[in-house]
Structure formats: structure tokens, C-alpha cells
């Protein structure tokens, strides 16, 4: 058949069959027993031409309400941020996006150097010594942090704060079943991890304490108070962190975190219905040889020129097989590149400015809600998200907002029974004063 992705001509095919010494392509499949041979063609939709398919899929995409047409106040782990235009131009260089993992360093220096720069930027933001080349996303990175803690400490109990993203917690619990770890939920109090409850659960059996910073409610967890509890019995201190917030907040590394993970989605990666995003994984140097995933290191070639290679591969599945520290192989390299470009474009000054703007806009919004008589549920310091209690179900309110072109906040009642009718509102640098005022106005009669 003729297809734009298939270059073989009838003449090519005949010559090749002759070289092989067979009469037909079918003969090449003679080793597949008749009993398992699939006959005919798949019962799937017929092929469409490029223009027809483009039109059909454009219409399908148009059935969705996107955050560029609607005004979004939805966050909960995925945010509508400024993406510098240059990001997409860089990741569209097909030398990057059509390459495999850089196993042949001599012809992969571009990718390797870009990842080395990514690792450096993540270390800078988190205050950690070593960062890997990326994980699937923040949730699986957190699960791997729990596994690493358990393997390193040879302990089996994970203390997991309820103020961590509910979907991240679910992923941790699924992963924990493999090695048979026990996950203990630690309640929150006024929006942050309940330190007394944490203290009460802490003992010699604890592999790690996991908190999120800022946490799922947007609140800034008191890492300074949590660290001594986490380390009291030789357990690890694991922090999941929004890297953008670290443009203005003290990095977890400075509070003594052993492992810092998270998702770099706020840096140049569109929401894309939840993926692909870009997990990151950073550790103190003591854990360098146990970190999951690929690491790029600097070295020199035979002539003394600087170059980059994948290194410490003795940790990885393709070398160690069942003894590997993780099974991860494919990661999110292209999105790590996107995040690098965004972090580079923002730079030292822009990261702080953008993070600060998130705080300022979110605080303006919070004040506006307070001034309109709304109950803002948690009163501690926060980054770009806060919780408002409404007098009716969030789903119902969101339906009304949609009519006004607004995608409302997250319905916390889905995960926290005690937070029925509570909406988690995210305000990024992209939300204007006018949009915020409109939101408050539209919610006007919904205060509890």
C-alpha cells in the first residue's frame, strides 16, 4: 500500500524478497503457528488522510473547555502558568524530541548537557546536592522516595501527612504494597501536619516522614519543626515541593530534608489533562548511589575536552536487573528540557518575581473573599492556594461559574469529608485583578 510513512516501492520489495530468498512477505511469518495467527485486518476505524484527520481531531479538542479560553482557578497540583514562547520552539527541535536515551554519548552531547543543566537547576532550587534526570511525575517520584527511604533505613513504616496531595498519597500506598510497607496517615490541624500526632506515631520503626511544601491546601508546612521529629529515630525526612514556590520560600534542603521530590510542571509544561508532566528527585549526597533513574555526569574525552555521560549506572535496571534501585527506564527527558528552558528564561530574577507574584495575587484574592464575608478555612501562611467554605456543594457552584467562562476551584469534599462545600482556589500570576474580582462577585451569595 502507499502511505506517506512507508517508503518501500513494489520494486524495492521484490528485490529484497529475492535477496532474502523467499517468494512473499508472508513466508517471513511462517514461524507463527496457524493456531495463533491473526487472520485478516483489525476491526478498527479506517485510516483518514492528513487534512481529514486534522479536522476531526480539531473538532474533538474543541469539545473540551480549555484554560486559554476559560479563566481557571483550578490548581491542586497542576497549574496554569506563564509558559515562555521559546520553550516550545526549543523542544520542537527534532534532534531532541526524536532521540532515544543518550546511551551513545559522542552523538548525544546536546541532550546530556541539557540534562546536566537541569540537574543543576533542580539542586539550586531545592537546596539539595544531587538531582536525577527526571521521574514520571511528582506522585511516582514521591512513591519512589518512600521506597528509597525504606531500602536505605531497612525500616518499613511510612508516616504520610494527610495534607499531601490525595492522589500522591494514593500512589504512595499502591507502591508500598510491593515491598510490604506500612503507611500511616498523619492528620492535619489548621491546614498543616499535626505535629503532636506526628510525634505520637514516631518511633524506631519509621523509615520516613513525608510532608508537602507548600502542602495540598497551599499552606506552608512548618519544616523547621517537623525536621527534628523526622530525624529523632534515624528516619528520613522527605519533602514534596512545588519548585516554583522555592523561588521565594526557603528550600527544603536548608531545613535538613534528605529527599526532595515534586513536579516541574509549573515550569513550561502545559496541563495536558494531567500528563506528561515532569517529576524531579533530589537527595543529599549520602544517597547519591541509591537514587532512582538516570544521572548525567561530567567527564572528559581522550583529548581532555569536557563532555557528559550517563553515570553511576550500576544502580539501574539495564545493568542490575532484579537488584536495581528502581525499575524506571523511560523518564520525562523532553519535559525536563522544557522545564530547563523555562527556568533559564525566568532565570534568577524571574523565578523570584513570578513566585512572589503568585503570593501577591493569591493574597489579594484571599483578602477579597474575606472582605466579602467568606470563611477562609485555614489561617496559616500560604503560597498560591487557599480554601474557602461555601454554603452549597462545590460542584453546583462550579457549574454556575462555567456559564460565566470560569473554571472554579477544586472540590475538597471529594477527599476530605470534613471539608464538604470547601473550594481550593489557585491564583497564579496569570490571573488578573479583574478576573479575581469577577470570581469573588460571581460567588457573592455563596458564602457560608
Amino acid at each position: 500500500m502507499l502511505h506517506r510513512y512507508l517508503p518501500m516501492t513494489e520494486e524495492d520489495k521484490q528485490q529484497m524478497l529475492e535477496t532474502i530468498g523467499v517468494q512473499s512477505i508472508d513466508e517471513l511469518f511462517s514461524d507463527i503457528p496457524e493456531s495463533v495467527r491473526f487472520q485478516g485486518e483489525y476491526n478498527i476505524k479506517p485510516a483518514k488522510s492528513e487534512p481529514e484527520l486534522m479536522k476531526e481531531l480539531m473538532a474533538l479538542a474543541a469539545k473540551n473547555a480549555d484554560m486559554k479560553t476559560y479563566t481557571s482557578f483550578l490548581g491542586a497540583g497542576v497549574y496554569d502558568h506563564y509558559i515562555p514562547t521559546i520553550v516550545d520552539h526549543v523542544i520542537s527541535r527534532s534532534e531532541f524530541y526524536t532521540a532515544y536515551t543518550p546511551y551513545q554519548p559522542e552523538i548525544s552531547q546536546g541532550e546530556l548537557q541539557a540534562i546536566f543543566e537541569f540537574q543543576t537547576m533542580i539542586c539550586e532550587l531545592t537546596g539539595m546536592d544531587v538531582a536525577n534526570s527526571s521521574m514520571y511525575d511528582g506522585g511516582t517520584a514521591l512513591a519512589e522516595a518512600a521506597l528509597l527511604s525504606a531500602a536505605h533505613t531497612k525500616k518499613k513504616k511510612i508516616l504520610l501527612s494527610n495534607a499531601v496531595h490525595p492522589e500522591y498519597r494514593d500512589v504512595v500506598k499502591t507502591y508500598a504494597k510491593g515491598p510490604g510497607l506500612e503507611v500511616v496517615d498523619i492528620p492535619y490541624k489548621n491546614g498543616v501536619t499535626d505535629l503532636d500526632a506526628l510525634q505520637a506515631e514516631m518511633n524506631e520503626d519509621v523509615a520516613c516522614v513525608i510532608v508537602q511544601y507548600p502542602n495540598f491546601f497551599g499552606q506552608i508546612e512548618p519544616l523547621k519543626e517537623i525536621e527534628p521529629i523526622a530525624h529523632a529515630h534515624k528516619g528520613m525526612f522527605v519533602v514534596a515541593s512545588n519548585p516554583l514556590a522555592l523561588g521565594v520560600l526557603t528550600p527544603p534542603g536548608q531545613f535538613g530534608a534528605d529527599i526532595v521530590v515534586g513536579d516541574a510542571q509549573p515550569f513550561g509544561i502545559p496541563a495536558q489533562f494531567g500528563g506528561p508532566h515532569c517529576g524531579y528527585f533530589a537527595v543529599k549526597s549520602a544517597l547519591m548511589r541509591k537514587i532512582p533513574g538516570r544521572l548525567v555526569g561530567q567527564t572528559t574525552d581522550e583529548e581532555g575536552r569536557r563532555g557528559f555521560v550517563l553515570t553511576l549506572q550500576a544502580r539501574e535496571q539495564h545493568i542490575r536487573r532484579d537488584k536495581a534501585t528502581s525499575n524506571i527506564c523511560s523518564n520525562q527527558a523532553l519535559n525536563a528540557l522544557a522545564a530547563s528552558v523555562a527556568m533559564t528564561a525566568l532565570g534568577k530574577k524571574g523565578v523570584k518575581e513570578m513566585a512572589t507574584m503568585n503570593i501577591q495575587k493569591a493574597h489579594y484574592a484571599k483578602e477579597a473573599f474575606v472582605n466579602h464575608g467568606f470563611d477562609v478555612v485555614f489561617t496559616g501562611p500560604f503560597f498560591n492556594e487557599f480554601v474557602v467554605r461555601l454554603n452549597k456543594p462545590v460542584a453546583e457552584v462550579n457549574k454556575k461559574l462555567l456559564e460565566k467562562g470560569i473554571i472554579g476551584g477544586y472540590d475538597l469534599g471529594r477527599d476530605y469529608p470534613e471539608l464538604q462545600n470547601c473550594m481550593l482556589i489557585a491564583v497564579t500570576e496569570l490571573r488578573t485583578k479583574e478576573e479575581i474580582d469577577t470570581l469573588v462577585k460571581e460567588l457573592g451569595d455563596c458564602h457560608a
Binding site: 510513512y5 517508503p7 529484497m16 535477496t19 532474502i20 530468498g21 517471513l28 491473526f38 479506517p46 486534522m54 469539545k63 480549555d66 486559554k68 483550578l74 497542576v78 506563564y82 520552539h89 520542537s92 527541535r93 534532534e95 526524536t98 532521540a99 543518550p102 551513545q104 559522542e106 552523538i107 552531547q109 546536566f116 514520571y136 511525575d137 511516582t140 496531595h165 500512589v171 499502591t174 506552608i220 522555592l246 526557603t250 495536558q272 489533562f273 494531567g274 506528561p276 544521572l295 548525567v296 555526569g297 567527564t299 572528559t300 581522550e302 575536552r305 553515570t311 553511576l312 535496571q317 536495581a324 523511560s330 523532553l334 532565570g347 534568577k348 507574584m357 501562611p381 473554571i407 479575581i436
Partner: protein
């Protein structure tokens, strides 16, 4: 003499910026008023300070130091480095796909759900399975997800002693690694001299403690496991499940379906067979298909079609849980869907036929110059051994490096582990005969060089931006980040 590309940090100069943020239109709250002092960052992160053009030049320079499928032939075995269609990239960037939030109300994302549902339906037909989840982010993630489901299945039957997963000695490294993460012990089953799973050895290792057998078919030698039904019978008779590693699915589209071969669980690598680009190492997508008896254990949520449209079903009490935040690498799934719809049933059939034709053609033409350990029709890939060249002092690694001088990405080398000085070659269907011939000519020239002027091969590469790198020092004294 090639010039280094400086690190972006070395190009930085205080006072330059590369961004454009809107002016603040709300009162400028002082951060110190709302965040306690201990939590305010005192020292700014050392990120680069560069202009937009600096950034573009830097990354353009880096891209020129990188080889992708669009740069040239990339016959990396088991990785299916086929052409990445450009329409896929455009479709994935439609605002209605790229800028939708995973937690939006269902009625605002019906287009996305419809795409996911329809992709699942297509993958069910392609694999011969009864249900598919799109949650896993990559192949290895799919393997682990599948194994966790098998584990849950056995436990639901009160069967807690199935602690072992059998993998062939030719298996991808992720197979045993995934088994470990899922809490299993790995048992290796040997291959015969013909390169297929040794049935006697399989009978020896299988037992009441067998949770599953993981298999690629065709295997990593590029050979179809023709005793597959017998193997399925052996494993099933012992109460175990059969797991299909879909890394090599490009070899059997429309020719044989895992579901018809007796497999209970399948993962696919949408970034291989279904043209999601590899992205320099990811992101991928690793959907998992299962037979009916495993459906209750699928991760939460599943995508369903109801009377009022498509929806996520969270009410799944036996589910293994959630394996990823949200619903998988949707952006990659959009690309795979676009590809499947671009090919249609006849197109997918042609994909496999040409992939297999190309591999056999290359294998036959190269057999004269390199040792061919398994002399039979291969599927989408084949292995050669550099044993003959090794005797001349030229290692497979040297041959790989010499190929770089010809502008090619080398094959996968030293894998599978059971073949001495192994080269695993996968041409894919998107390459023309001219490309295959040119590569074959290069391989023939290298074989001759090994005999006549081995130092040219041993000292290769000669034309790349760096020469061979010192990996030993890199691992012994790791430098993993830039420091001023």
C-alpha cells in the same frame, strides 16, 4: 577542532533577562508580611541570567550535538526508532488537548475522555485483550502495574504463596526490576540453542509458587516463540499468569495478538510501536491490557461510556489503587491515537510487514560479514555477533563507535546478554531501501577495516564533537551538577 558549548550558567551575566511577565495589578504585598522570616529564601537560586536569543542559540547549539531519528538512521534494537509523524505534534498542541486541567468537571472534558475511550477500544482490538488502562507512564511502569494486578488477583483467590516471577535470560532488564518493585522474586528460565525459551527448563522452574511468566514475543533476539501456546499451558496449568512485554509489538501487528497467544496481561510502549517520540529518554506511555478475570483489579479510575457521555469510574473496590496522579501521559496518548487513525487497519498491517521485510533483508546481507547466531527468519529485529571481529582485536563497542563516523546511531550492543559481542539491529518500516543499503555498506566497510586497518575502528569515533569519554572517572568521582 570542535568547540565546546559552554554551560548555560557560564553564559550568564547579571542584568539580563529572558522572560516577560505582566505588571502586578494588585497591591504589592510584602512577602515578609505574609511569610514567616524563617521560610523566606535568603539566597537566590543560581539560575542563569540570559536574553532570549542567548537561550535559543544555546539550545540550538546543543541540538546540533545530538542525533535523532530526523537526523539519520537509528537502528537501535528493541527501541523501535521509527519516524515520528509531525501531525501528532500539532494535534497534541491543540489548546483543547494541551491546556485542559485533569480535575475539570467531566462535562468540560468530553472530547478528551472520548479520545481516551476510543484509544482503549483500538488497543483492545490490537492486543486481543478485554480491557485497557492508559494510566501507566512508560513501559516499566506498565510492567509493574500489570504485576501488581496479577498479585492482587492471586491474593483475591487466597493464594498468598505465589512469590515468583519467571523471566527468560533474554528479557529486558526492566522485567526483573519491575518484579522486584512489585514484591516478587525473579527466577530465570534458560533459552535453547535455537534462541527460544527452553520448555524443559520452564517445566522445571514453574510451580505452585509461580505468580507469572513475563515474555516478549518475538523475543529480544527477534525470534518468534513458536511454542507459545504450550508455554501458556504449562504456566496456566500451574496456576500462574502470562505477562506480555509489548516492547516488540511492531513485529506482529495484524499477525498475532497477545490475547490469542494466551497472555493474560499486556503492556504496550506507545512511544515505540505507536510513534510517541522518545524525547531523548521520555516521556513515554505504557497502557496495560488485561483479560476479563483481571478487570476488577485495574487501577483507578477507569474511563467508561455511559448514557450521558464519558466518565471516570472511581467505584472499583478491588482495584490495585492508583498508579499515577491523574490519568496517564495523555499528551503521548493523543499522539498514539493520531498515529493509529493515520494508519488504519491496512496501514498497521503494512507497518509490521515492512518492518519484518527490512530486518530480514539486512540480516541476510550482513550474514556474510558478521556471525549470525540464529539462522532463521527474524521478525522486526535480529542479532549479530562480533565474535569474528573480536579475534582481530576489534570489539563490538568499537564497531558501534565507528558507525558514528558514518552518521548512524549504532544498534543496541551487548544485549541480549546471552550473545557474545552482541549487536541488535532494528531498522523499522519507515526506512527506505536506499537507507538500509547505505548502512549495510558501512557495516561491510567496517568489517573490512577490522581485517585490514583495525586501528581505524579501535580509535573511532573520529568525527564526533567529542571522542570516547572517560566513564570510569565519571562514576568514581561523580560531578553531577555545575558549581561556580
Amino acid at each position: 577542532m570542535h568547540k565546546d558549548q559552554p554551560l548555560i550558567f557560564e553564559l550568564s551575566k547579571p542584568g539580563r533577562i529572558g522572560y516577560s511577565l505582566p505588571a502586578l495589578d494588585v497591591p504589592a504585598v510584602d512577602v515578609a508580611q505574609v511569610v514567616p522570616t524563617d521560610y523566606i529564601r535568603q539566597e537566590a537560586p543560581e539560575l542563569p541570567e540570559v536574553s532570549e536569543l542567548d537561550i535559543m542559540r544555546h539550545y540550538t547549539a546543543l541540538s546540533k550535538r545530538n542525533h535523532g531519528v530526523d537526523s539519520g538512521f537509528y537502528p537501535l534494537g528493541s527501541c523501535t526508532m521509527k519516524y515520528n509523524p509531525k501531525i501528532n505534534e500539532n494535534v497534541a498542541r491543540f489548546a483543547g488537548f494541551a491546556h485542559i486541567h485533569p480535575l475539570q468537571p467531566g462535562e468540560t472534558v468530553q472530547g478528551a475522555l472520548e479520545l481516551m475511550y476510543d484509544l482503549q477500544e483500538h488497543l483492545k482490538e490490537i492486543t486481543g485483550m478485554d480491557a485497557v488502562t492508559l494510566q501507566p507512564a512508560a513501559g516499566a511502569h506498565g510492567e509493574w502495574t500489570g504485576l501488581m494486578m496479577i498479585r492482587a488477583y492471586h491474593e483475591a483467590n487466597g493464594d498468598y504463596n505465589r512469590t515468583k516471577v519467571i523471566v527468560p535470560d533474554t528479557a529486558h532488564g526492566t522485567n526483573p526490576a519491575s518484579a522486584t518493585v512489585a514484591g516478587f522474586e525473579t527466577v530465570t528460565v534458560k533459552s535453547t540453542e535455537e534462541g527460544l525459551v527452553d520448555l524443559d527448563d520452564l517445566r522445571r522452574v514453574v510451580g505452585s509458587d509461580t505468580a507469572a511468566l513475563m515474555l516478549t514475543n518475538p523475543n529480544t533476539l527477534g525470534l518468534f516463540e513458536e511454542n507459545i501456546l504450550e508455554m501458556a499451558e504449562i504456566v496456566h496449568a500451574a496456576g500462574g499468569k502470562l505477562y506480555y512485554d509489548g516492547a516488540n509489538l511492531n513485529a506482529v501487528l495484524s499477525k498475532a495478538r497477545p490475547g490469542d497467544m494466551g497472555f493474560d496481561v499486556v503492556h504496550l510502549n506507545l512511544h515505540k510501536t505507536f510513534t510517541g517520540p522518545h524525547g531523548g529518554g521520555g516521556p513515554g506511555s505504557g497502557p496495560v491490557g488485561v483479560k476479563a478475570d483481571l478487570i476488577p483489579f485495574l487501577p483507578k479510575p477507569t474511563v467508561e461510556k455511559g448514557e450521558d457521555g464519558y466518565y471516570f469510574d472511581y467505584d472499583r473496590p478491588k482495584a490495585i489503587g492508583r498508579v499515577k496522579p491523574f490519568y496517564g501521559n495523555f499528551g503521548i496518548n493523543v499522539r498514539a491515537y493520531t498515529y493509529i487513525r493515520s494508519m488504519g487497519p491496512d496501514g498497521l498491517k503494512a507497518v509490521t510487514e515492512y518492518a519484518v521485510l527490512n530486518a530480514n533483508y539486512m540480516m541476510r546481507r550482513l550474514a556474510e560479514y558478521y556471525d549470525l547466531p540464529y539462522n532463521r527468519h527474524c521478525k522486526h529485529e535480529f542479532v549479530l555477533s562480533g565474535k569474528r571481529q573480536k579475534k582481530l582485536g576489534v570489539r563490538t563497542l568499537d564497531i558501534a563507535k565507528r558507525l558514528l563516523d558514518f552518521g548512524y546511531h549504532p544498534p543496541t550492543i551487548y544485549f541480549p546478554l546471552i550473545v557474545e559481542e552482541c549487536m541488535m539491529i532494528e531498522p523499522t518500516e519507515t526506512e527506505s531501501k536506499e537507507t538500509l543499503d547505505a548502512f549495510i555498506d558501512a557495516m561491510i566497510q567496517i568489517a573490512k577495516e577490522a581485517e585490514e586497518t583495525p586501528e581505524i575502528v579501535q580509535e573511532a569515533p573520529h568525527t564526533t564533537v567529542v571522542k570516547r569519554l572517560d566513564e570510569t572517572t565519571a562514576a568514581r568521582k561523580p560531578i553531577l551538577r555545575y558549581q561556580k
